[in-house]
């Protein structure tokens, strides 16, 4: 397939997952934020924005600005509206490759972005709606696109972004440590019930973090997402080597995953920020490596004449 199209698919995967993750985070934190006194609300809003990867433009950044920055700002790549808009733009460029179902669901989502009230209550509904739409997009991607190379790129983008998003979710805990319970964190990831059924009586921060970070069967855990990404990379480049990996992306993803899986610690909570930093770095490095290997358009447009 065309490199340009592969890149579009990779980014559709990333953007849709980003919208999904941001909606989850916003939904849960909004509840908390709303209860805080004005002053604290402001500083927490700014920190939350920082965790999501953007900087507040002015000091006068409170709840309404946060809503705009994370949900409705179409210009920003960190907001839900911005991500969904970008996903749809990418799909428009790869329209003949993706199924019409996938394209239409993204397109309809894009046109639905404006049909919501932009206050706190409206944002709850908006987040819910986004989760529905992204679930529909992923479902259609899985059921109406052949699981060939194009789908692998889509899933690759999705898995990398998912690892990144879960890392951010876990990082938000620091922001709101004064009361951000592990229950909320698990709810964020939609992992609450799964966690309860697996861990039974083992409640607590440590276990919740462990679950979201290391669980081998929960699809939104970081280890699971990285394993997915690794599998996609392996399928995209099935050449087997006796020693090592020449594929940078595989090396980076594999290293990040195995470090987490094989790391032993008694105090996960204090190491958490460090882990999160490492995961996010690995994701961005892997993404760069994939661009270099598969989407490289850096070759100049040059004419090559007759072959002598």
């Amino acid at each position: 397939m065309l490199s340009r199209i592969a890149e579009s698919l990779f980014w559709i995967g990333r953007y849709v997952e980003r919208a999904d993750g941001t909606a989850r985070i916003l939904d849960v934190h909004l509840e908390r934020l709303n209860h805080l006194p004005m002053e604290e609300q402001r500083s927490v809003a700014q920190e939350l924005l920082a965790v999501m990867g953007a900087r507040a433009q002015s000091d006068d950044f409170g709840l309404p600005e946060l809503l705009n920055a994370l949900a409705y700002d179409k210009q920003s790549a960190t907001s839900i509206a911005g991500s969904l808009g970008a996903a749809r733009e990418n799909a428009r460029r790869a329209r003949e490759t993706v199924s019409s179902g996938l394209w239409e669901s993204l397109n309809t989502t894009y046109y639905g972005l404006n049909q919501h009230r932009k206050d706190v209550v409206g944002t709850y509904r908006f987040c819910n709606w986004v989760l529905e739409r992204t679930a529909m997009v992923s479902g259609l991607a899985d059921t109406t696109v052949s699981h060939d190379e194009s789908w692998q790129f889509l899933v690759l983008g999705r898995s990398l972004e998912r690892a990144d998003m879960t890392a951010r979710m876990l990082s938000t805990r620091d922001v709101l440590s004064a009361g951000m319970s592990w229950v909320n964190m698990l709810r964020c990831a939609g992992a609450y019930e799964s966690f309860l059924r697996t861990r039974r009586a083992a409640f607590g921060d440590q276990h919740a973090a462990e679950f979201l970070l290391l669980d081998r069967l929960f699809p939104r855990s970081i280890v699971y997402a990285l394993r997915d990404a690794d599998e996609c990379l392996a399928k995209l480049d099935p050449s087997a080597q006796r020693v090592g990996f020449i594929n940078d992306a595989r090396r980076i993803v594999g290293q990040a995953r195995t470090f987490l899986e094989f790391h032993r610690t008694d105090d996960l909570m204090s190491e958490l920020p460090e882990h999160m930093e490492r995961v996010q770095k690995a994701v961005s490095q892997a993404s760069d490596a994939i661009s270099r290997k598969y989407f490289n358009q850096a070759d100049e447009l040059a004419w090559v004449g007759e072959v002598s």
Partner: protein
């Protein structure tokens, strides 16, 4: 007829045009019988609800054209344009004939120019055409076809006669709307489809792909076809994606291509892959910076040389624009007689060649009664309709004609035929044209039944271009009258399997529910006794 058609006949009378649906006296023509019947049942609320839902579907599906950087849905009207079988068979023959003549003309123009030496057409006319490209002179394109895809615009004049308005053999667009309109209409006005046979349009992509593959460079067993688009900001980008998608081929941009050793390759995730046939949807001027505009970022350097060496088929061929030239258009009837030895099936619109002194003077005297068009324009650009123009516009036009008589042609104002079109709360007559599409695979010219009917949505307006407030209508070509016996293909009967596999949850669930209720009653009863 419901209130929706109130005042229609008066409005139609005012235009003085031929109405496609009604004969004078508001009698629905035979071909429109079923449509009239279906519309009679509908109230204004029904019609507007359907129109809304059709527009919504278009937006969701992304059936849009790009206008000034904004995606707009292409307005589709709910009343179709219906062409009876006998009229269509004439159009079909006429269009195919024209394509064959233009094909022969282009082959000749880029070769020996016998048409000039035999005195049919002046040499100067060909060589002064803006789209006569010397870069492609003197070679036959791989596959031997130049006009793979064409759109011949025809209109119906006040007498009801079809006439050709212009030929498009460069990059005719609009076929995607033909395909999408039919899909939308099947849902929007299902009642009208029932009793009559409407010829299907969905085979177009298949025909196109097979024609493109057939004209691949010789020696290629399984040719790779691509559609070359200028990119997502082109007004017809939707069409490019739709055609590429329906043909199942890659949609490439110039930057995806690379020429090496007179072969063309595309950059894929698995390295470079050879491309054999390019369905070109960009203008010649932007195709190859080595030959045409050096500042073009849309094309790929080396394509023209590759085509010359026979390493790649470009469809439509580079340089076809000379046949689109509106001054050449005025010679097409002669070309048909010259190359094919036939009489033209569809007549041209009377055209004044402004280079001829007599005609020019005649036209300059009557500018306010005529339509004046630039010879290389498309999309209604630069066109001046005399009766609608102001004094100043006409004076400016007069100066431009005198300065460059080769650049303009003049035609009488045609009252294009009308079809009822929803406007506000009733139907009104609106002018339409028709663009049938033809696909030429080198052996046979196939004409898509129907084509794109464009409609001017403003009352009285004669400009149907989408960029200037035009919409479209689904175009139905009725199949031959059912007197021709249709062979009934025996169908195998379908065996009915009456057993549906289910997990027998239902019965168990009911049982247990009953049991639980009983249990509940018992315990309630016990409680009562205990309390007693």
């Amino acid at each position: 007829m419901s209130d929706l058609f109130q005042e229609y006949s008066e409005a139609a009378g005012r235009t003085g045009a031929y109405d496609e649906m009604f004969a004078p006296g508001q009698q629905a023509r035979r071909s429109y019988g079923q449509v009239a019947l279906a519309l009679r049942e509908l109230s204004l609320a029904d019609v507007s609800a359907r129109a809304d839902s059709m527009a919504r579907t278009f937006l969701d599906r992304g059936v849009t054209f790009d206008f000034a950087g904004e995606e707009r849905p292409f307005p589709l009207d709910i009343v179709p344009r219906v062409i009876p079988a006998d009229e269509w068979s004439v159009l079909e023959r006429g269009v195919a004939q024209r394509v064959r003549a233009l094909e022969a003309f282009l082959n000749d123009v880029y070769d020996k120019m016998t048409v000039v030496s035999d005195g049919v057409i002046p040499r100067q006319l060909v060589t002064t055409s803006a789209h006569f490209h010397r870069q492609v002179h003197g070679f036959e394109p791989a596959g031997g076809v130049r006009v793979h895809i064409s759109g011949i615009d025809v209109v119906r004049d006040a007498e009801g006669t079809f006439r050709v308005l212009e030929d498009n053999v460069r990059v005719p667009s609009g076929v995607s709307y033909v395909l999408e309109n039919r899909r939308a209409m099947a849902k929007g006005l299902p009642e009208a489809f029932g009793q009559q046979l409407i010829r299907p349009v969905e085979e177009y992509p298949r025909r196109l792909l097979s024609a493109l593959r057939k004209t691949a460079p010789s020696g290629v067993d399984d040719p790779t076809v691509v559609v070359l688009t200028p990119g997502v900001f082109n007004s017809a980008y939707f069409e490019h994606t739709l055609l590429a998608g329906l043909m199942g081929v890659e949609l490439v941009e110039g930057r995806d291509l690379i020429c090496r050793g007179n072969r063309v390759y595309m950059r894929t995730t698995a390295g470079e892959q050879r491309v054999d046939v390019i369905y070109k949807r960009i203008d010649d001027e932007f195709l190859d910076p080595l030959q045409f505009r050096a500042d073009s970022m849309l094309g790929c350097p080396g394509l023209v040389n590759a085509a010359r060496a026979g390493g790649v088929t470009i469809a439509n061929a580079v340089g076809n624009g000379v046949a689109d030239d509106k001054l050449v258009y005025s010679y097409v009837p002669d070309l048909i007689r010259y190359y094919l030895n036939e009489e033209p099936v569809i007549a041209n619109v009377d055209t004044f060649r402004l280079e001829e002194k007599e005609a020019r003077e005649h036209v300059l005297d009557r500018l306010d009664e005529l339509v004046v068009k630039p010879v290389d324009g498309s999309g209604g650009k630069g066109l001046v309709i005399g009766p609608d123009a102001s004094r100043d516009e006409l004076d400016a036009l007069r100066k431009r004609i005198i300065a460059d008589p080769r650049g303009w042609i003049a035609q009488p104002v045609l009252q294009l035929s009308t079809v009822p079109t929803l406007s506000g709360d009733k139907f009104g007559p609106r002018h339409v044209d028709l663009r049938p599409f033809a696909v030429n695979d080198g052996e046979d010219v196939w004409v898509l039944p129907g084509g794109l009917t464009r409609v001017a949505l403003k009352e009285g307006s004669l400009i149907v271009n989408s960029s200037q407030g035009g919409g479209s209508k689904d175009t139905w070509v009725l199949a031959d009258s059912p007197q021709v016996p249709v062979e009934v293909i025996p169908r195998p009967t379908i065996a009915v399997r009456e057993r549906v596999s289910v997990w027998p949850v239902e019965s168990n669930w009911r049982d247990s529910q009953k049991e639980q209720q009983q249990q509940q009653q018992i315990s309630d009863a016990q409680e009562v006794t205990a309390n007693a």
